[in-house]
């Protein structure tokens, strides 16, 4: 009996560890100053999200979930255009996975307000082979071309190379500096909950194990 209890404890610890690995993810709240786009003749504008595969040959080992879109005084327009493993709508949620080996792309029109924001939940599994999956965010103009940014050739406002469990987040302003972006980490409530549950379970096991040890003495 004692042996079984120890095994259960070890199994729970193992499950917790597995849960931690499989749940490796990044949560961000992203806010963009889009005031310079209001009434701008370069529109209509679109938000463009990509989650492109690195060395995984379309292995679908990462997903991006985008939610809680806020457009200030603006709004989402029309429906989304997709290529590869993407779907959804700016009026609700958007998802992407790196299932296509070349391009997984979602874009949809929006009417800019003075700002926009959304939440991003991104898994962070690393491809073997040296080239990471990449999540990127860009704004397209009326010709569906990226607005120029201060990034290095990609004209994106945000890039996240999934090269580690805790990847760095690169953000770039527009080339003219008028559009700025902030990406703020969001604590992962479910992780707290899982951790707390595991802690409680461990405490309970510990007490039971301790009591039974006393009894047997």
């Amino acid at each position: 009996m004692k042996t079984k209890t120890v095994l259960r404890a070890l199994a729970l610890l193992g499950a917790l560890a597995v849960a931690t690995v499989s749940k490796a993810q990044l949560q961000l709240h992203v806010a963009v100053d889009t005031s310079s786009l209001v009434g701008n003749p370069g529109g209509p504008y679109s938000l463009d999200f990509q989650l492109n595969d690195g060395s995984g040959w379309g292995d679908s080992n990462n997903t991006a979930a985008l939610s809680n879109f806020q457009f200030g005084t603006g709004t989402a327009v029309g429906s989304g255009s997709t290529f590869g493993g993407t779907g959804g709508d700016l009026s609700s949620n958007v998802w992407l996975t790196d299932s296509n080996s070349l391009l997984n792309d979602f874009y949809q029109g929006f009417t800019p307000g003075s700002w926009l924001s959304f939440d991003l939940t991104l898994t962070t599994n690393v491809d073997g082979g040296g080239t990471p999956d990449l999540f990127s965010f860009a704004i397209l103009d009326g010709a569906l071309m990226n607005l120029p940014t201060q990034s290095l050739g990609s004209d994106t406002f945000m890039e996240i190379n999934l090269d580690s469990a805790s990847p760095s987040v690169a953000t770039f302003a527009s080339l003219d500096g008028l559009i700025t972006i902030t990406a703020t980490p969001v604590p992962e409530a479910s992780t707290y909950g899982l951790g707390a549950a595991a802690l409680l379970a461990m405490m309970g096991l510990s007490r039971r194990f301790s009591r039974r040890q006393k009894v047997s003495v």
């Binding site: 492109n52 060395s55 070349l102 040296g130 990449l134 990226n146 050739g153």
Partner: protein, 792 residues
């Protein structure tokens, strides 16, 4: 006529047989039998081209009578071919360069012989059915500029048509085949043939070209190892589009009278690329209404066993008669030792066929578990590959991509480790072997540059030298061998060699060429106005005079030699044995006499052994004394104690005019052309590299990727620093690069000058690479960094 020619599809060449010089079996093929001809027809071939060289079987002027026995033999094989149901094409073949090429300088004599030959052929076959065709000449060539050559060919083709048409019987309407200059398909060349056909205004004419592929691919030079767009595929398209638009679209049919690759039967053109080439060429020819006739010099169909030596190739050719055959971006899949086995993708070219299954040996693999197919992307799961990631290196299994129509595409799974090269030393006077443990990998190409950027090797316009001409892998003896045309003549300095392997691995090597330590002491005189004591003239091989005063370099006399074909002049030391080990260079003066132009070879004698090496001189200059210094190492006798003679041989089969030799010495001094070659393994760059992922920039319509290069050490790294993208996937090109990049070469094997300056300790530079958007699949390449003295 278009229907006539399409009924000839496909055709086969009885190569290296009746065209062999002088006789049918001279080039190694057996005598033709009726059974062979019947077998070719039974294989589905509808036409046969019988190349015939008439030169050795033609009598003297003015009759130029063809040997009746030879004509009978030709007729016999033509009869067998017609009886088998095939269309038959005969020609004048190597006559083109043997005597017809003299047309610019000996026009009337060539025309007289040409007229006599074709009059006799036409007369012999005058009553044969129109399934027999005549081709005026094979691969016309005249050693003059193209414009002049095209005028001569117009003259020749016109005469040919007139001779045949006037010779009676069915020749009045017999289909006649006219080639373009060199049977080339360049637009200006075929325009000239088109003009000839226009003025001939004969409804029974057929144009012919030959196709041996985009030359760099067909011989594997300049890094053209893949059958890819735009070069190799584009060349097929351009060539066949040209002849389609110029002839077929205007009612004149076209025969591709020969096709193949130039380097065949060896590793120069990789197996999968070889098969893709044949598939594309034959299907595109058919799509353009061109009838193709494969050039088989004996390498394809076994003329004794009547079996295809390469049944996989034959199956592909057969499939392209009705559709297309399936292939893929590669027929190689590599599993690297010591690395985690990963899912591995290969883009299939289904070419309109449907995928049925993937087979490993006799086992049909399970979709989803062992592999996935997403569009054209076949991904073989790591679990399927892992079982081959152990044991001996090399090919472990063959996966077959089975489709609903046509042959399977074979994927050769190889287990490998990065090849390892080792230091060695040698000289520049012959071949040079780089010790190489291949570890299951296969050599793709070799890149060689001096540290100053100059290309190294026999080809001076590309650093990617020609496979099997400048270098070759010797898998049995663990070496990459530089041919004896690679290092001789190369200046001193350091050559960076990059061995490119089909796995994508690049292995660097360095060759340092430096002057030999020179000896000292007096020369050993062999001839100086007279032979030295003990030396004899063994020259019954060639007329000579050891006391000739006609042309003298120094002193009072020289040696004159007047050799017949392959004749030579031999000097032999019959005196007391002398130690020649202290001498390194054979020195003498030579003069071509009033005529000049002689082709002379020099070799040593050691006792009764002639050789082991020899070397040829450039054509001798008339009435000019030239000093010749031959490193004994190039004759294979440097350091030999027992040199007992030398020979000076006429390296042609015809009589040579008199030439002169004087002041023959052995010198202890090293020739300035004899260099030591030190092969070393260069230190790997200490720089590290981190790749970012890809994103599509819709403004530039390019896939963009950042790459950060870091000096992780506490020491500065000397520039320049290059980033090289090896084995860039076929589906894209490097379009641009931004950031800290200073120079970009957007070519087939692109490299980027990241920085000219020094990278400070722990300094990083980021470059942004921009690729054209692939139509499918992901972008892959192997990145390589070079810095400082190991740079390009």
């Amino acid at each position: 006529m278009q229907m006539y020619v399409e009924a000839m599809q496909p055709g086969w060449n009885l190569g290296n047989t009746l065209d062999a010089i002088p006789d049918e079996t001279s080039w190694g093929n057996p005598l033709v039998t009726q059974a062979l001809i019947q077998q070719i027809a039974a294989q589905g071939y509808k036409s046969i081209r019988i190349p015939i060289t008439w030169t050795a079987h033609t009598g003297a002027a003015p009759g130029y009578t063809i040997d009746p026995a030879w004509m009978d033999r030709v007729q016999q094989i033509v009869d067998w071919s017609l009886q088998s149901g095939m269309y038959v094409l005969i020609n004048t073949h190597h006559d083109s360069w043997q005597w017809i090429s003299a047309m610019p300088t000996d026009h009337d004599a060539v025309v007289a012989q040409y007229t006599a030959v074709w009059t006799q052929i036409s007369t012999r076959f005058a009553n044969y059915s129109n399934k027999l065709m005549f081709e005026s000449i094979n691969e016309p060539q005249f050693a003059v500029d193209d414009a002049t050559a095209m005028t001569l060919l117009d003259d020749l083709n016109t005469r040919f048509v007139n001779i045949v048409r006037a010779s009676g019987g069915a020749n009045a309407t017999r289909p006649l085949v006219l080639p373009s200059l060199h049977t080339n398909s360049a637009q200006n060349i075929i325009d000239s043939l088109s003009a000839t056909m226009a003025h001939l205004n004969d409804p029974n004419l057929i144009a012919t070209i030959h196709y041996y592929g985009w030359w760099p691919f067909s011989v594997n030079i300049a890094g053209d190892t893949k059958f890819n767009d735009p070069a190799s595929i584009g060349d097929v398209n351009t060539s066949f589009d040209n002849v389609y638009n110029t002839f077929v679209a205007k009612g004149i049919p076209v025969i591709v009278g020969e096709f193949g690759v130039l380097e065949t039967g060896n590793d120069a053109v990789e197996r999968g690329e070889f098969l893709k080439y044949f598939e594309y060429v034959t299907q595109y020819a058919r799509a353009k209404g061109l009838t193709h006739m494969i050039w088989d010099a004996g390498q394809d169909f076994d003329r004794t066993t009547f079996q295809w030596k390469d049944p996989e190739l034959f199956a592909i050719l057969k499939q392209t008669l009705t559709g297309r055959a399936t292939n893929a971006e590669s027929d190689l899949l590599f599993i690297k030792s010591g690395a985690p086995v990963q899912d591995t993708g290969i883009n299939l070219n289904l070419n309109g066929n449907n995928f049925v299954s993937l087979q490993d040996g006799s086992t049909t693999l399970v979709a989803g578990k062992d592999y996935t197919l997403n569009g054209s992307l076949l991904t073989v799961k790591a679990s399927e590959l892992a079982k081959y990631a152990s044991g001996a290196f090399g090919e472990k299994t063959v996966l077959a991509v089975n489709v609903n129509s046509g042959p399977s595409w074979k994927i050769h799974v190889r287990y490998y480790s990065t090849p390892v090269v080792s230091p060695t030393v040698g000289t520049n006077t012959g071949t040079f072997a780089i010790p190489t443990a291949f570890n299951g990998d296969l050599l793709s190409t070799l890149e060689a540059r001096y540290t100053n950027g100059m290309d190294a090797g026999p080809t001076n316009w590309t650093p990617y030298q020609q496979f099997n001409y400048a270098f070759s892998p010797d898998y049995a003896h663990n070496a990459v061998v530089l041919a004896n045309n690679f290092l001789p003549g190369m200046p001193t300095g350091t050559i960076n060699v990059a061995l490119h392997f089909w796995s994508g691995q690049i292995v660097n090597y360095q060759l340092t060429l430096q002057a030999k330590a020179s000896g000292s002491g007096s020369d050993y005189v062999i001839y100086d106005d007279a032979l030295a004591s003990g030396w004899n003239n063994w020259s019954s091989w060639a007329a000579n005079n050891l006391a000739d005063t006609t042309q003298v370099h120094a002193g009072s006399a020289a040696i004159s030699v007047t050799p017949g074909g392959w004749g030579g002049f031999v000097l032999q030391n019959g005196g007391p044995a002398m130690d020649t080990s202290g001498y390194h260079t054979l020195v003498f003066w030579i003069n071509g006499g009033p005529t000049g132009g002689q082709s002379i070879g020099i070799g040593p004698i050691q006792g009764s052994v002639w050789g082991p090496g020899s070397t040829g001189l450039p054509a001798l200059q008339a009435n000019t004394w030239q000093k010749v210094e031959i490193p004994l190492s190039s004759l294979g006798v440097d350091g030999s104690a027992g040199i007992t003679g030398f020979y000076f041989q006429n390296w042609t089969g015809t009589d040579a005019p008199t030439f002169y030799i004087d002041d023959i010495h052995l010198s202890p001094v090293q020739s300035s052309s004899a260099l030591d070659v030190i092969g070393t393994v260069p230190t790997a760059s200490t720089l590290t590299m981190t790749k970012g992922g890809f994103t599509l920039n819709r403004r530039t319509n390019q896939m963009v990727q950042s790459v950060t290069i870091t000096n992780p050490t506490d020491s500065a790294v000397t520039g320049p620093t290059y980033l090289i993208l090896d084995a860039l996937s076929w589906n894209t090109t490097l379009a641009n690069a931004n950031g800290s990049t200073q120079y970009v070469v957007p070519s087939a094997s692109p490299y980027i000058l990241v920085s000219n300056g020094t990278l400070a300790p722990h300094q990083s530079l980021t470059v942004s690479l921009a690729f054209t958007v692939p139509s499918s699949g992901g972008i892959t390449y192997n990145a390589r960094l070079l810095s400082g003295s190991s740079s390009l």
